[in-house]
């Protein structure tokens, strides 16, 4: 609405036909989200839309994490394995509290119309687990350690922060996805 896009829920395989872009939000624990998606019966359709039809997909928070191989949350759980990398618990140290909650700086390593690489942008985070390293880093962020706060490749964009909650920067991030 604010971005001239009409969001709707995908509940059945047919719903995919109407989608030009797909968002994978994730609220919940890692295995809760992965299992929900597997049990929905929509996973194979989702994969077809992303890998065969090459529709752009945006993973947010746990929606980002579950695209990778595994996560330490709730014991070791398997993810969807679309992207190489493992999700690990953020390191603890005396100064930094976990969960990592609040607004933190994001540094872009690839420039776009919306974001420069020589500037820092604040986005909202709320998580205890994160991606340690990746070959397709879009942004990185430092809390108790430096972690990968978003990744991008051809048609997959995924972020640990919440663009939908990050006011102007967040709307710009969503614009980047939609264009």
């Amino acid at each position: 609405m604010h971005l001239d896009a009409q969001p709707f829920f995908i509940n059945t395989p047919d719903d995919f036909k109407h989608a030009t872009h797909i968002a994978l939000p994730g609220v919940g624990s890692f295995s809760y989200c992965v299992n929900n998606l597997r049990e929905s019966g929509l996973l194979s359709y989702l994969e077809k839309n992303i890998f065969t039809y090459q529709k752009p997909v945006l993973g947010i928070c746990v929606g980002m994490q579950m695209l990778f191989e595994s996560s330490e949350e709730g014991g070791l759980s398997h993810g969807l394995g679309w992207l190489a990398g493992k999700i690990k618990k953020l390191e603890k140290n005396e100064m930094m509290k976990i969960p990592h909650v609040g607004w933190n700086s994001v540094n872009f390593s690839k420039p776009s119309v919306q974001f420069n690489t020589d500037k820092e942008y604040d986005f909202y985070f709320d998580h205890s687990f994160a991606l340690e390293k990746s070959d397709i880093i879009l942004t990185s962020t430092t809390h108790s350690q430096t972690f990968v706060s978003s990744v991008s490749n051809d048609n997959i964009l995924a972020c640990q922060f919440h663009p939908e909650k990050s006011q102007t920067n967040g709307l710009n991030f969503l614009k980047m996805f939609l264009n």
Binding site: M1, H2, V27, G28, S29, F30, Y32, V62, E73, G74, K92, M96, K97, I98, P99, H100, V101, G102, W103, N104, S105, D122, Y124, F125, D126, H127, S128, T142, H143, H162, E164, K165, S166, Q167, G170, L171
Partner: protein, 260 residues
């Protein structure tokens, strides 16, 4: 680096006007006196425009969420209008409530009176929805120089020591704690930064402190002396000619890392 947060607190009460039940914004004093302030959605939009870092929405009617469709409808409307983190509480007592609230667009769910009934609920919620989603909302007051948990349902203090209780909440998987000093609520005579600092030092999870913000300096005290990760205020933002953006510049001038 991670920034400190300023959080306006919006307390919601439902009221019958004619045949219609509507949700209105109120502030409280000592958890007793309630003052109607206005429309929650328009107020939230003002806070968003003023760069508030997050919002805390709490229904204080005392209803179970099962019987509070008006509140859920309000959240749904709100989350379509604003793009910032929302922490919601009020009558949350089971896992279905988490689902309902998350569907209505909130990001974190705060549990208050159910904490006194069953800490197993916190454990289950944390397991299902992740620690980052579970906020322990703890009301306290001081009795014989000891901070103890306050039971607003009874309108009286309990004998549970605040520090012990907070430690238990962390162990059960709460991802954040919101401490509110009931005796300071709405009076604007300063935060209880002493209690906040003790708890913030012993726990690993982030602490939000509220109750008593009367001047912009009180935010600075909450961060510097209380070691808080976030300071929340209701009356200060609602009833005075004060906005988050003014408070923010004062906090920034004091050398505290804050957004914008």
């Amino acid at each position: 680096m991670l920034k400190k947060r300023l959080i306006p607190k919006l307390l919601i009460e439902t009221k019958k006007i004619g045949e219609e039940q509507i949700a209105i914004l109120v502030t409280t004093k000592g958890y007793q006196k309630k003052i109607a302030v206005g429309d929650p959605v328009s107020q939230a939009k003002i806070y968003e425009a003023n760069f508030a870092d997050e919002l805390i929405f709490t229904d204080i009617s005392g209803k179970n969420l099962d019987e509070n469709d008006i509140f859920l409808t309000l959240l749904d409307k709100l989350s379509q209008e604003i793009f910032m983190p929302i922490c919601v509480g009020g009558g949350v007592s089971k896992l279905e409530h988490f689902e309902q609230l998350l569907h209505a667009g909130c990001d974190k769910v705060s549990i208050n009176s159910s904490l006194l009934d069953d800490l197993g609920f916190v454990k289950n919620a944390s397991k299902n929805f992740g620690a980052q989603c579970v906020v322990g909302s703890v009301d306290f007051c001081t009795v014989n120089n000891n901070p103890v948990i306050y039971n607003w349902k009874l309108g009286a203090p309990t004998e549970i020591h605040l520090n012990d209780f907070c430690k238990k909440l962390e162990d059960c998987g709460a991802g954040e704690l919101h401490l509110c000093d009931v005796q300071r609520d709405g009076f604007g005579n300063g935060l209880n930064y002493k209690v906040c600092s003790e708890i913030s030092e012993t726990l690993e999870i982030p602490i939000i402190i509220s109750g008593g913000v009367g001047t912009a300096d009180d935010f600075v005290e909450g961060f510097q002396l209380g070691g808080a990760d976030a300071v929340a205020a209701g009356t200060y933002f609602c009833l005075r000619d004060q906005s988050p953006i003014q408070a923010r510049s004062h906090v920034k001038t004091a050398g505290i890392p804050i957004r914008i």
